[in-house]
Symmetry: C2
Subunit: 413 residues, 2 copies
């Protein structure tokens, strides 16, 4: 590579967004053939049956009634105090872990993951992650020169592959002293899988066992889809992160994107849990420094929204009702898809909640291409196909599995 003004570490090819590409094709097909004809399962946002983005009234009415000066003004660098307290209680619900808990505002869940990869690892250290993952994790590892190591997500019975996790952790700790273990659960993107409570016990036991002196293990819980993963009890696992040894840090990437249908407002938080006050404080200080050095402060109106809705009983109730309504709608779509899959013999990964269902298969690119002939637009990744139940009506969720099954059989015949 010829030396030029761009620094060597910062050279990257144009970041292709394959999801954006197939999404664009779906849009074009809708324009040509009409919405009814097309199944667009590419969008990672809640879409109503009429094809329109769902944006909660409780959120956007509050926004539109807000004093313009409040919207215009800067928030605090670390995040506004009420917001920082609010996200902790919103995130944990009835299952707040014990220990020293801090939170810091971040630009979406992305920003929280960025902060964890940046502050808890040095260059060359490992992020370990299941092999069904949100691609931005890898982009961040590239950007900051962290190593990204994946392991087989599920075993042959479709349980979390604890053996594969253990091997990956041992591998990373054998080579380096620091590791971040990413768990995008509950309601994993792209699979809808949730690690259950008894499996969490096993995972934590392994981490505790491996956290020998001089070794540092950070657990990153990316819970972007948590509000669409159950009626509240899906948060119970948070209690398990109370008082872990001081060389284990628990971090949570909290996002308002899905839970408040506030994708475009770019708000989230990194929550820090440690048994030791000094550690919780020092990680907070590190991330506050990062805030100033990357974006100064986050969208003020998003922080105010969370707090205003929380403190106003009526607004809070409207918000909860809306969330519940769409959570159930999502569940019905997923049920329809899963039932139909069973009927036609389409194998999917287990779905427990969230926006996506995944279909493991070979030749996913060709299958996705083939499916366009049947007016289905779907995202292909290395391990299979991602169907966005968040974006497809129940009726279309019911008819899709057969079409997908046929395409798989056709390509892999």
């Amino acid at each position: 590579m010829e030396k030029n003004i761009l620094a060597d570490h910062a050279r990257w090819p144009n970041l292709e967004d394959s999801i954006f590409k197939v999404g664009g094709e779906a849009k074009k097909a809708i324009e040509e053939k009409g919405r009814e004809k097309i199944i667009n399962s590419t969008i990672g946002a809640l879409i109503d049956d009429d094809g329109k983005l769902i944006a909660f009234d409780s959120v956007y009415d509050t926004l539109k009634n807000m004093d313009k000066r409040s919207i215009a003004s800067y928030g605090a660098i670390e995040g506004d105090k009420d917001f920082l307290e609010g996200v902790i209680s919103k995130c944990f619900g009835n299952y707040r872990p014990e220990g020293f808990i801090r939170s810091i505002s971040t630009v979406g869940g992305t920003g929280a993951v960025r902060h964890v990869f940046w502050s808890l690892l040095g260059e060359g250290d490992y992020v370990i992650c299941p092999n069904w993952y949100w691609p931005a994790y890898m982009t961040m590892c590239e950007e900051f020169n962290r190593k990204f190591k994946t392991y087989e997500f599920l075993d042959k019975d479709f349980n979390f592959n604890i053996e594969a996790f253990k091997l990956a952790l041992d591998y990373a700790l054998d080579k380096r002293d620091r590791v971040v273990c990413v768990f995008n659960s509950p309601a994993n993107n792209p699979t809808g899988f949730t690690i259950d409570d008894s499996m969490w016990d096993k995972i934590i036991d392994i981490i505790k066992d491996r956290a020998k002196e001089g070794k540092y293990i950070t657990i990153l819980l990316d819970v972007a889809y948590i509000e669409f993963a159950g009626d509240g009890s899906q948060k119970k696992f948070f209690e398990k992160f109370s008082y872990l040894p001081e060389n284990i840090l628990t971090t949570v990437a909290y996002s308002m994107s899905k839970s408040y249908t506030a994708y475009g407002l770019r708000a989230g938080a990194c929550i820090i849990i440690s048994k030791k006050k000094e550690i919780a404080d020092s990680v907070f200080n590190s991330m506050k420094h990062s805030n100033r050095a990357t974006w100064s402060n986050i969208t003020h109106v998003a922080m105010t929204l969370l707090t205003e809705i929380e403190k106003d009983k009526e607004k809070s109730k409207s918000y909860k009702d809306e969330l519940e309504k769409y959570r159930i709608k999502l569940q019905k779509r997923a049920d329809a898809f899963m039932e139909a899959s069973k009927e036609v013999g389409l194998i999917t990964l287990p779905y427990f909640g969230g926006f996506f269902i995944s279909i493991p298969c070979d030749g996913s690119d060709e299958i996705a291409e083939k499916l366009k002939e049947n007016d289905i637009y779907i995202v292909a990744n290395k391990q299979g196909l991602r169907f966005a139940v968040c974006a497809v009506s129940e009726d279309k969720c019911r008819i899709s599995p057969k079409l997908i099954k046929n395409a798989i059989d056709f390509i892999n015949k």
Copy 2:
């Protein structure tokens, strides 16, 4: 430092915000004594004479009339196409430089500066900057392990200190192959100083002379206050950055914070200018990668605001009228302050526009403390005092210089 789970490079003490502290004291004093009694010159935002934040109707009416789904949705990773074109024309006005120009959305001006420090320098390389500067530059250099070298901003006649700049540049290039030269002009924060067009010729000549083979010089123009620095002709200097040699890159940190009174919406852009298409594209790709790896995408509504206002003639006119109204108000306040300073013999740095006027002095901390007795709240920094004309009424701007002069004489007697 005892090793713990926080990585060594990411350890920082709690980032103290001295401006926030003195601002808090001013607020308390206002509550106790009433707004009329207090001069609060600490706030870095346009404040009306009644003490309220100015938030343009043209901007916030547009926001409130926007479809909630548009606000809720994600923007593109690199920024929406219309926005990326819009910021280029908004920023340059009638003086668009020639060459290959790219822009990328960033979280405020901060994000643009971050991207430049990150992508155009390696660890240990230098950012050189006048010694009256926005402190976040230094925080970013700390975060990413870039060296921050300041030089004397103005010479004894209060002209840009071209000799000091040359020495700093030579120093950095003697040690390293890459350097970023930051110029927060026009309407510098914290001084209000603007580098004039003939001085720009000298600066560019020096940079061209020093850009030998194997040496790479990035010019960063932080123009956060540009809309409050004149009636348009202050943008003429942009033309000078046409077709510079390929080992000189020009970057512009553009911010919507001040120009749209949209501080809390966190939107800006990094504009890239190169004579070579491949270089402009590769820097864009690098920054797009950074976008994905730090915040994914920026506040969608802010991007839409810029485009909607631009494309609607009526809105565009209202916006320009509001901007002009407040630019003139700001100018009147600054005139009052400068005239009164002259009358009482208070020495200030030359002011040409923007939100602040600076008073060079020794013992700034003690002076700021002393001024509280006279109900003036002002920001002290290493080189002197920063008075925010953006936040103080014309009447109060007129009476402040005498009080400041008295306090300086008292402390330095």
